[in-house]
Amino acid sequence: MAVNYKNPLFEVVRNPDRCIKCRVCERQCANEVHKYDADLDKMIANEQNCVDCQRCVCLCPTNALKIRPNENQFRPNGNWSMQLMDEVYKQAGSGGVLLSAMGNPQNYPVYWDKILLNASQVTNPPIDPLREPMETKTFLGKKSQKISYDKDGKAHYEKTPYLELDVPIMFSAMSFGSISKNAHESLARAATALGTYYNTGEGGLHRDFYQYGKNTIVQVASGRFGVFKGYLDAGAAVEIKMGQGAKPGIGGHLPGMKVNEEISRTRMIPMGADAISPAPHHDIYSIEDLRQLVNSLKEATGGEKPIIVKIAAVHNVAAIASGIARSGADIIAIDGFRGGTGAAPTRIRDNVGIPIELALASVDSRLRDEGIRNDVSIVAAGSMRSAADVVKAIALGADAVYIATSALMAMGCHLCRSCNTGKCNWGIATQRADLVKRLNPDIAAERLINLVTAWNHEIKEIMGGMGINSIEALRGNRLMLRGVGLNQKELDILGIMHAGE
């Protein structure tokens, strides 16, 4: 079979009555789908390249375009989906490992959608957030349990480093490299305005963004890109990346072609060289080794910054989290299997890890059972799609959440899942100057602020309905949750009752 035909996933439908041949679509599509054919005097499309990013649809001045699933189908087969067949052809043609982007899109259960929230009726009346104070401020870090009083009655307690969040939502790690400078700037400015934090990811901190340091979490991953004293000092907290929900057990790899001048300076590696972050930290093989990295970072930063350890949600996540809580880390971030990525091997993304809902519930329970829940804060990540998901996550035991995919959407992302190609038409997951400038940081920052502000209003409204007036009182309050259509095992793990009980 020498014919290497790729059945296009999408069909470009152009309404000839509307198309005015302005060629906007041609200029906007970095995948070079649209082309003006002078001989025919009409726009033609090379559909094989279309990723359904909706850029051309959104920018067409006459609404002449539609992108829809290709109607041409292989013979339907209950076992062999078209997707699987297409993947076999791709690998047979190239010998390559399949590489995908964004979170796991497969049809696994979404537990958020099977959990319902409570509201007060008659007794314990609801609170109106428009009239009464409602606290969404959250502190992340170890909560000291030991208070002693001196002879003058003054209280003394162990002072531990913490993060103060005005909203229980932070922007999750996305490196400069995986996303553009303008996208980073938008996140940094939005985090500052919102009184929360964004996260550098493992790509270092661009020198223009040191000014946002007090709202920045700096990440240290196995490759240690861009990590030096000044970087550690710049951030409000340091996150050790042990794993990522989209690719547990796999490291990162920024191909050399994306390492341009600015990325090279920020990561402190030569231009054009691959940036490889291997799966493991080669100095960490145990909780004791992790403790060593936690402590060395504390020593290097004067013990003033909380240390976050981020892990992917995997089968034995509760035991791992228990170890991390004992390693001296202040915060554990758990990233579920739906979490996004700029690039991950398809098979890993789609088959490894567990849902954040189950992971979060079992970690929270385990830490409570062991009496160490207050030694660490928990940040849940890996697909928080709405304020309702956030409220459910907090009620399951999270102190705060990380969002990333929804933040990208606020900036224009249409989830075309082709970030790995570096040709993001929305100027987000790309380093191409002509594409990057499509993202205006003034507008994108504003939209991020809008999104989180709106969610925060909704969180207050939902909490008010429950008769709860602070995140603190909602955290781990699983009585506020009921399952629908879940079996007993699932309910047990989530630690919630079924609706009607």
Binding site: E87, K90, Q91, G93, S94, G95, G96, V97, L98, L99, S100, V220, S222, G223, R224, V227, F228, K229, L232, H253, P255, G256, S264, R265, M268, I269, P270, G272, A273, D274, I276, P278, H282, D283, Q292, N295, S296, E299, A300, T301, G302, P345, T346, S418, N420, T421
Partner: protein, 239 residues
């Protein structure tokens, strides 16, 4: 400032160094205290005894001299400065080190120079006098690693040398080339000209620990470099 480190915890010891305005420190009776000099710049610390893991982690220009053996992860993510060990040292020496120099008189453990990288004028150097364990220069992305193998009969590096190496250079002094190298690493006998590249560092080694630069450089060296800066290029197909 001189400090008797006996019975001091690492946090107390490091705080004393950090809080002092002095530029020179002599620490005696050091026994396993970790993270000495973490992130430090502008100071000189002389240590007698055995400092613990992560000595000089994130070192940012300070100089650390150890009279004794050092343990694991010395110079982890070091950015500048020097660590000189009159003895042996443990695993992951110079992990992800970006600049500065590490000299070890004796042997070093596994994974020496792993993830070592370079950027423009930032160029890290590790010189080991004796032999090293497995995985030398794993994922090396920049800088120079020199293994002198002084007093060694056999090639002074272990197995899996240069696994994932994609930048930088290694010089190994031995009659026999290291064996079992991965495909993406090329190994050839260093020419006289190439040896000149490391003269400066061998000189400094000799200044610290004795020996003879000329004699050392006259012996056979193997130079290891990656075949390409992008060893993983053909591995993936976009899905």
């Amino acid at each position: 400032m001189t400090i008797d480190a006996k019975n001091l915890g690492y946090d107390e010891l490091n705080k004393m160094i950090k809080d002092s305005a002095d530029e020179k420190f002599e620490l005696s009776n050091v026994l396993g205290q970790r993270y000495i000099g973490a992130g430090m710049s502008g100071k000189e610390i002389k240590i007698t005894g055995t400092p613990g893991n992560a000595l000089g982690a994130y070192l940012n220009g300070a100089k650390i001299i150890v009279h004794g053996n050092a343990q694991d992860a010395i110079g982890d993510t070091m950015n500048d400065g020097a660590i000189i060990v009159h003895g042996n040292c443990g695993d992951t020496t110079g992990y992800a080190m970006r600049s500065g120099e590490i000299y070890v008189q004796g042997n070093a453990g596994y994974r020496v120079g792993i993830h070592m990288k370079s950027y423009k004028e930032l160029y890290p150097i590790i010189v080991i006098g004796g032999k090293v364990g497995d995985f030398l220069g794993e994922y090396q992305a920049g800088g120079i690693i020199v293994v002198l193998g002084i007093g060694e009969e056999k090639c002074p590096v272990g197995s899996f040398c240069g696994t994932g190496m994609h930048g930088g250079e290694m010089f190994i002094r031995s009659e026999n080339a290291p064996t079992g190298l991965p495909k993406q690493v090329s190994c050839s006998e260093a020419t006289a000209e190439e040896k000149e590249q490391i003269r400066r560092y061998v000189d400094r080694f000799v200044k610290h620990f004795g020996n003879n630069t000329e004699e050392l450089l006259q012996s056979k060296f193997w130079k290891l470099v990656p075949n390409s800066a992008n060893p993983y290029k053909q591995l993936y197909v976009s899905n």
